[in-house]
């Protein structure tokens, strides 16, 4: 594979006609050796997966895209920090998870400040009523929104694990590495998260049935 300049690869990265047959670990090694085409291929492989993960974790599409971009920039800048002892995917997911966590903390802080500045009347007025949403559109999009809401209502530690397991389809070992928790704790959290999600999704499932 020829070493190529990043700017000359923008076209290739956009038309998505990459013919790489390399594993992620081989690609990152090539990138560490200076091959920027390998970087573009890694970006193409992971941008959507990471976007889905961050999107369900934060619930904001624009912010999620920014975080995925930041993750990719980190990958570009810190490529030499990756060591072959870990799987590339878990390493990248860990970067994205850390960035998403930082963003989530910022959002929480902003929300607290915003709510504390509002009067009681304003608070009552600004919180949208779920009933109103139900009346507005009883369609597929509404169902999806409700599922997203149900996921968002889960505590942070449950949400993260349920997204990685049930939406991203990652193995328990990979999840354990990404969240830096023992395998047993991960399994137990998935059980608890699924039980709690059952409660959250009860209403929406009844609505689907009706």
């Amino acid at each position: 594979m020829m070493k190529q300049n990043l700017s000359s690869l923008s076209a290739m990265s956009l038309n998505k006609q990459s013919k790489f047959i390399y594993s992620d670990e081989e690609l990152i090694k090539l990138f560490q050796e200076g091959d920027e085409a390998a970087y573009v291929e890694l970006v193409n492989r992971y941008k959507d997966r990471l976007y889905n993960f961050v999107y369900y974790f934060l619930g904001d599409s624009e912010l999620s895209e920014d975080i995925v971009q930041e993750t990719m920039i980190k990958l570009y800048q810190k490529k030499h920090y990756y060591k072959e002892i870990a799987k590339f995917s878990t390493w990248l997911y860990t970067i994205a998870r850390n960035l998403a966590n930082t963003e989530l903390r910022k959002i929480k802080r902003r929300k607290i400040t915003y709510l504390s500045h509002m009067t009681k009347k304003e608070t009552q007025y600004d919180i949208p009523a779920i009933q109103e949403s139900v009346e507005q559109g009883m369609n597929n999009e509404f169902v999806m929104n409700q599922i997203e809401k149900a996921i968002n209502n889960l505590p942070e530690h449950f949400r993260l694990i349920i997204i990685l397991r049930d939406i991203q389809k990652l193995s328990y070992d990979d999840i354990s590495e990404i969240v830096s928790l023992p395998l047993g704790t991960v399994k137990s959290r998935i059980n608890r998260a699924r039980l709690q999600l059952r409660v959250e999704l009860k209403e929406i499932k009844e609505y689907i049935r009706s």
């Binding site: 990043l6 700017s7 690869l9 923008s10 990265s13 956009l14 573009v40 970006v43 193409n44 941008k47 959507d48 976007y51 889905n52 999107y55 369900y56 599409s61 895209e65 995925v68 971009q69 990719m72 920039i73 570009y76 800048q77 999806m144 599922i147 349920i162 049930d166 939406i167 399994k187 137990s188 998935i190 059980n191 608890r192 699924r194 039980l195 999600l197 059952r198 999704l201 009860k202 499932k205």
Partner: protein, 177 residues
């Protein structure tokens, strides 16, 4: 099997990861508790529901935007690197190098001048009329004679300026005289 053990084994049961004996135990618990059976079917359908969630994709301009950001970052890094350096060296290294360079020049000058001086001395030593001899070996009379011979005629006049040796013999009176 109690409630806790049941809840801890739900995921393993759904994902077929229970051993045969544990699975039998789990199934018998489900048969005894219809509520637990409902719970399992509900969780299974939830997992399926999560699987059907649409896989959203990033904006089409994602790569272009990313490459743009990376290029900006590269330029900024270059600018920072050039801004903080003197001819490509960090300020501290530049100071050390310039100090070393100055001392090298000083050393060169010193060596050059000392070499010149040594050459002069050697040249002086090599000329026969200025050949130096140890002081104890020089005969003063010879030196006077030599000086007289070497001195140009005009300078002979200067001999008159030399202090004349006075004869004090007539003035000397011995104590016993």
């Amino acid at each position: 099997m109690n409630r806790y053990q049941f809840e801890d084994s739900i995921s393993d049961y759904i994902e077929n990861k229970l051993s045969l004996s544990k699975r039998k135990e789990f199934d018998s618990y489900l048969n005894e508790n219809p509520e637990a059976k409902n719970m399992i079917s509900s969780i299974e359908s939830n997992v399926e529901l999560l699987n059907t969630l649409p896989k959203s994709k990033v904006n089409k301009k994602f790569n272009a935007q990313l490459l743009k950001k990376i290029n900006i970052l590269k330029k900024e890094n270059n600018r920072k690197y050039n801004k903080g350096t003197i001819l490509g060296f960090a300020p501290m290294h530049a100071t050390i190098l310039s100090g070393l360079f100055a001392s090298l020049i000083f050393l060169c000058i010193q060596l050059y001048t000392s070499k010149k001086m040594t050459e002069n001395v050697n040249y002086a030593n090599q000329t026969p009329e200025n050949k130096m001899e140890p002081v104890d070996k020089i005969n003063i009379a010879d030196l006077d004679e030599q000086n007289r011979l070497n001195t140009p005629k005009d300078s002979i006049k200067h001999d008159s300026l030399k202090p004349q040796k006075k004869d004090f013999s007539s003035k000397i009176h011995l104590v016993n005289d």
